[in-house]
Subunit: 367 residues, 2 copies
């Protein structure tokens, strides 16, 4: 068996220890005589798995007791629709800070479904190399909430601060964050958010699962005319089991939470590792004449590190040789080209060391 | 390692051979150095997995070339909303045949979202022990489609015929089927349907995945105001990859399709096995003084066999002893009580033999 270093942006690398445990339990979960995949979601053993996962996530993120954690489906893209349905209420407008492709998609879906979406700030004019500052954020007078993308997976642009959300009339509206590509990479002050959501396929588990964390007082805001499965209130009341949830993905997410708690030692420890990993990679890029990253240093993502080669004719050789060296999935997103190294929690520091060594070697030979 | 016989209604038993192969490939898919869970959904190796799954399903069900196969999320419950959004068009009304709890939920969701749903026929008055006959089905004059549930998982009630869908004005409307609990149990004439959908967690794979088979000419009927991920047209255009699909579940479904083709020998062979299994179980019930099943023989489900004990005070002993004998998940649905043996494709004939032997023995000792 071979395990290569996998820099995929998502579905992304999972901890080897998690996959080993899943393999061990695949046909017979702890002597019960069946796979987790084959369990009724309402059985005692499965409910215990689901509840442990939720409790571990709550502990890891220090989620306050007035927040509910939901495990649902459809990726962040489904939440682009679910958030306005749950939070708009009558007469409000969804507000957005646009810092890249995923934020833009969230705006488009809100506009498509509800006719209006207000872009309170955007980094588009700068080419998304630095996030808007607080003073540049202009909420609409009827803002119902402010949505932003703390870490843009494709552009590699990350917020260095948490936006304030006070409208001109003094009302503070909920802050909503698509944390798909940075959740669990560092501690988080959940109490500052109204809604957090995250597609699982970067730092949580397999694709198809989405985690939503919602402040309890927001559960009753929803419009009536929404698909039942989109309703945060109904999901919360049903313990995320309005219908059969993605049981196996939820179980795997639980194994990742357990790994973060017990193998890594929690989010402070994870944060320190992620800092070292990204510091090393950006240092290698900045110290090179061949590689470059355009993002303002203060807004550089610790999870997704895009970079280009000074001579794009070297791109395909770089990718072929990297793969031969066991460094997978370094190709940049099809919309932007170049390279991207996604260095999520499950990508070990040794992978970054190997990547940096390869980059240096490639530059010496070909740069 | 122990593998018990699992009669769960869903998430249900999977073929042991499929789980063994998934275990084998869990950390390193065919020497690529990563798990299928860790692959980009747009990578060559994952696209090959996804396309093979689709091709095998198309071959198994003999799906005509003017039908598209979609792999999406949210369970059948999400399709209760997606179907009307895709098929209602302007001014039409969704029509339903109600034969149990799942059909009723589909009616409720259409009514909730679109204000109206017409029950063209119902077996409710009879207590859902026989399906309505063709002459009892009264479509509304503005019927946009007719939805039915060929196999009701909870009641164990199955259609013995395919309803005709001609309105009074002569127009034939699309037939829509929730085939969650019977798809792939026997050959199917797909050309008779407009839309087929099925949650994966019975005969296809793990919970969270839904397969939709839709006739191409229906792709353009949809209303504009729907969540992007609900759109059959957009899913079809994007090869089910508008966003990241449930990649690992899709892969597992592919392993199940491969097992059906190559281990079982196709749906005719599967059908013969399923006939034998259900014939044996119903014969045991009918030949007993302790057990009974209320469904009209012609409408008895071959997948879900509910039965009650003449003395319900024996229920808990029956369940405890069954579990001790390695026969899991025989408890009936919480809404109806009694027992239910779900004998999907992955439940081997030996499991039914063991169940029948246990039932006979229990009756002799306790009946």
């Amino acid at each position: 068996m071979t395990r290569h270093y996998n820099f995929c942006a998502g579905p992304a690398a999972l901890p080897t220890a998690v996959l080993e445990r899943a393999r061990e339990e695949m046909l017979d979960y702890q002597g019960r005589g069946l796979s987790v995949m084959e369990m009724s979601h309402r059985s005692d053993e499965y409910v215990a798995i689901a509840e442990k996962a939720e409790a571990d996530l709550r502990e890891l993120l220090n989620v306050p007791s007035n927040y509910r954690i939901l495990f649902t489906q459809g990726g962040a893209t489904q939440q682009f629709a679910a958030v306005p349905w749950n939070l708009l209420g009558p007469g409000g407008t969804a507000n957005f800070i646009e810092t890249g492709i995923w934020g833009k998609k969230a705006i488009q879906e809100a506009r498509h479904l509800f006719g209006a979406a207000h872009v309170a700030a955007s980094s588009a004019e700068s080419g998304h190399v630095a996030v808007p500052r607080q003073q540049d954020i202009a909420l609409s007078s009827d803002a119902a909430y402010l949505h932003f993308t703390p870490n843009e997976t494709i552009g590699g642009l990350a917020f260095d601060y948490l936006p304030h959300t006070q409208r001109e009339d003094g009302i503070e509206v909920p802050l909503v964050a698509d944390l798909s590509s940075s959740i669990l990479s560092a501690p988080l002050d959940v109490s500052r958010y109204g809604v957090i959501y995250a597609g699982a396929q970067k730092n949580i588990g397999p694709a198809g699962l989405v985690v939503v964390i919602v402040r309890e007082d927001l559960l009753d805001r929803a419009r009536d005319d929404m698909p039942t499965l989109f309703s945060y209130r109904q999901l919360a009341e049903a313990g995320s089991m309005i219908n059969t949830p993605a049981t196996y993905s939820w179980y795997l997410a639980g194994l990742v939470f357990d790994w973060l708690k017990n193998d890594v030692g929690g989010l402070d420890a994870m944060d320190a590792i992620n800092q070292r990993k990204s510091d090393k990679l950006y240092a290698a890029i900045d110290g090179s004449a061949l590689y470059s990253n355009p993002i303002a240093p203060i807004n550089r993502s610790r999870m997704n590190v895009p970079f280009v080669l000074a001579d794009s004719r070297l791109d395909s050789d770089f990718l072929v040789e990297a793969e031969q060296a066991g460094l997978l999935n370094l190709k940049g997103h099809r919309s932007v080209g170049g390279m991207r190294a996604s260095i999520y929690n499950a990508v070990p520091e040794a992978a970054v060391d190997a990547l940096v060594a390869f980059m240096n070697d490639f530059e010496q030979r070909r740069g």
